[in-house]
Symmetry: C2
Subunit: 349 residues, 2 copies
C-alpha cells in the first residue's frame, strides 16, 4: 500500500514479531546462543578500547570480556527524562515504545566518549488510542488517510490531515489535552482493510474503541465536543471537498497519494480518540559506514559497534514509514560482520 | 532599568569588558599567570581521572599535567554544526557570540563521558542589525520595549512585542528572510537612553542604522515593504492602543512592566532592520553544586570541573536577562575554589 508520504504504493505490511522469530530460529540453527535475563550495566574500557561488558546476572555483577561489542539496545522512548531533555513537548506524548527502551546503550556509548546526532527529531506517531488500553495494539489507526478529519476538543480542525503521521503527532500534541478525535463517516469505514493495522477500522469498532452515532450532533454529544462547532467544521470541510473554497488547512489529498478527500456525509459517523505516541526515537550514536561507533572527534572507539535504533544520523528530520525495520535489519547484519572481523583480527586479541 | 520580562527595575547595566579587566588586574596582583595563544586540544585522562590538558603551543603538542582542570571555554555560538545539531532553525540566525565559542570544552567533556543538558533551549536574541556590520556593537536595540512594533517584509506584525527578547528571536526566525523591521515614531525616539546599549536609539540614528521618513508611506517605500499593509498594520495597532479592540497579538504593555504601549503617530518615523543573534548557548555539561563535572551515570569525573557558558542546567527554557554574567562570575569563583581544594588534597597528587 501507499504509506504516509508516499506518492505511489511502496509499503509492504509486515509483522515484526514474525520477522524476529524467523531471525531467532536461523540464529539457533547456526549455533548462536542468546542469553536472556542478563542486564548490560556498563562497557568495560581498557586503554581507550572496549573490551567487554559489565553485566548483572542474577543480582551479581559479572565482567564479560569480548573482543568486540555491538550496542543494539534500541532507543529511549520509555525514558521520560531523556525524552524531555531533547524534545521537551514529548512529555505530553504517549510513551508506547518497546518495554526496555530506556537508552542504556546510549548512555554506555556516551560514557565511552561517543558522538551522537538527530536529538531534536524525536516525534510522536498520531492515531494511538490513549490510556494504556489493552485493546490498543500499539499501531493506532490512521482513518485520516482514508477520509477522516482530526478535530480537537473544541470541535475544530487544526492541521492538514494528509501530512505524514509524525507531523500530525506534533500538531496533536499542541492541542488541549494533547489529544484529538479522528471523525469519519461510513464511506471511510468502507475503506477498512483488516490486513493493514492502521486501516483496520472494523477491528476498532468490534472492540469498542470507536464512538458511533447516526448524526454528527449525536456524535458530538457522545464525545463531548460542542455540536455546533463540529457541524460547522464538517460543513466547511465538505464545501472545500466540493471545490467551493480552498481547504482551511490546505488539504488537497487523502494522504501523499493523488486520491482526493471525500465529504463526511454518509451515516453512521465514527470517532476515534487519538494521541501521539513515541514509538521509537530516531536519534543516537554516530557510526561510520562499517557501524563503528565514532567519538566526538570523529575517531572510531576501538571494539565498539552499534546498529538499529541506538544509532543516529539515518532518519533525519523526516521519518519515512517502515525505515526503522530496514535500518535494524541491514545495519544489524553489517555490525555483526564488522564486529566479527574486528574480533578475528589478531591485533586486537 | 527594568529588563526584558521584569515587572520592576532589577537590571544594572554593566560593561562586561571592564568587568573582565578588573578581574584580570586582580588576578595579576595575586600572582596568577595567564597564558594566551595556547590552544587546549584534549583532556589527558588516566585511570578515569583527568590529569591535565593536551595543548598546542606554537604548533607543537605539549602535555600540561595538572591535579585538576576547570573547563571555562564558553559556549558554541560560533560552531554552526553543533548549533544546527541541537536547534536546527538556528541555522538561520546571526552567529554573533564571542569569537572562539566553538564548543571545544563541551567536546572535551563529552569525550570524558560527561553528561549534558538543556540542548533544546538555545535561542537567538532579537534586535541585532544583520550582516556583520561594524556599526552593530553586538547588542542590537530593543525599540519594541519602548513603543516600536515589529513587522515582517510583508508589513505585518507577527508577535506580541512585549515578550522576552529570546521569544521575539524565535518569532523573527520564522519570518521571510529571518528578519524583521522595528518601526517606531518620535515618541519612542524620545525614550532614548545612551546609558543602556539596547535603548540607545539616537546612537543608531547617528551611525546611519535607522531608516527615517516623515510619513509611514515614505518609510515603507524606503524599507521595501508594501505601504498599504504597513499603514493598515499601524492603524490596527493604534486602534488597539486606544482601546477600540484587543491587540491582534495580545500585546498589553511595553515590556514586562506595567507601562502601556503608545500610538505610532508622531513623525518622523524610524525603522531598524533586526535579526536574531545567538549570543550564547545556555546549555552544556552537567555539574554538581561544587562544579564537579558529572558523567552520564551521575558520578563526578575525578579532576574535572566546569563553570560558565560551557555548563547546562542553569537557565532552563526561559533565559533571564543578565544571568550569563552572574552565572560565570559566581560559578567561576566556586570552580576555582573547588579545583584548588581538590588539587591540595594529597589523595589525588
Amino acid at each position: 500500500h501507499a504509506g504516509s508520504g508516499q506518492s505511489v504504493a511502496r509499503s509492504h505490511s509486515t509483522d515484526p514479531s514474525r520477522m524476529i522469530d524467523t531471525l531467532l530460529r536461523r540464529a539457533e540453527e547456526l549455533g548462536v546462543s542468546v542469553e536472556f535475563g542478563i542486564r548490560a550495566v556498563q562497557l568495560l574500557v581498557e586503554a581507550e578500547a572496549v573490551v567487554g561488558v559489565l553485566c548483572e546476572i542474577s543480582g551479581a555483577l559479572v565482567e564479560v570480556r569480548a573482543a568486540s561489542v555491538v550496542l543494539a539496545t534500541g532507543g529511549f522512548s520509555r525514558n521520560l527524562e531523556l525524552l524531555e531533555r531533547f524534545v521537551p513537548h514529548m512529555a505530553n506524548a504517549i510513551h508506547g515504545g518497546a518495554v526496555g527502551s530506556e537508552g542504556d546503550g546510549l548512555l554506555m556509548g556516551w560514557k565511552a566518549g561517543a558522538d551522537f546526532r538527530d536529538t531534536p527529531y524525536v516525534k510522536g506517531t498520531f492515531g494511538i488510542y490513549p490510556g494504556d488500553d489493552p485493546r490498543e495494539g500499539g499501531t493506532g489507526i490512521l482513518a485520516v488517510y482514508k477520509g477522516a478529519v482530526a478535530v480537537n476538543f473544541s470541535g475544530r480542525r487544526f492541521v492538514d490531515e494528509s501530512l505524514p503521521y509524525k507531523a500530525l503527532g506534533d500538531a496533536c500534541l499542541a492541542q488541549e489535552g494533547h489529544l484529538a478525535w479522528q471523525v469519519f463517516d461510513q464511506q471511510t469505514m468502507d475503506r477498512d482493510d483488516p490486513d493493514v493495522h492502521i486501516y483496520w477500522f472494523s477491528g476498532r469498532l468490534a472492540t469498542g474503541l470507536l464512538e458511533t452515532a447516526d448524526t454528527l450532533e449525536e456524535l458530538a454529544d457522545k464525545i463531548g465536543v460542542p455540536a455546533d462547532e463540529l457541524i460547522r467544521t464538517v460543513e466547511g470541510y465538505n464545501a472545500a471537498v466540493r471545490g467551493e473554497h480552498l481547504d482551511a488547512f490546505g488539504r488537497r489529498t487523502l494522504s501523499g497519494t493523488e486520491e482526493l478527500p471525500t465529504e463526511l456525509s454518509r451515516p453512521p459517523f465514527y470517532a476515534h480518540l487519538s494521541g501521539s505516541s513515541v514509538l521509537a526515537t530516531y536519534c543516537g550514536l554516530t557510526v561510520d559506514p562499517e557501524t563503528r561507533v565514532l567519538d566526538v572527534y570523529g575517531e572510531p572507539i576501538p571494539g565498539l559497534f552499534a546498529a538499529g535504533e541506538v544509532t543516529g544520523g539515518f532518519h533525519g528530520n523526516g521519518y519515512v514509514t517502515g525505515t526503522s525495520v530496514g535500518k535494524s535489519g541491514i545495519f544489524g547484519r553489517l555490525a555483526g560482520l564488522a564486529a566479527c572481523a574486528y574480533a578475528s583480527d589478531a591485533a586486537h586479541v
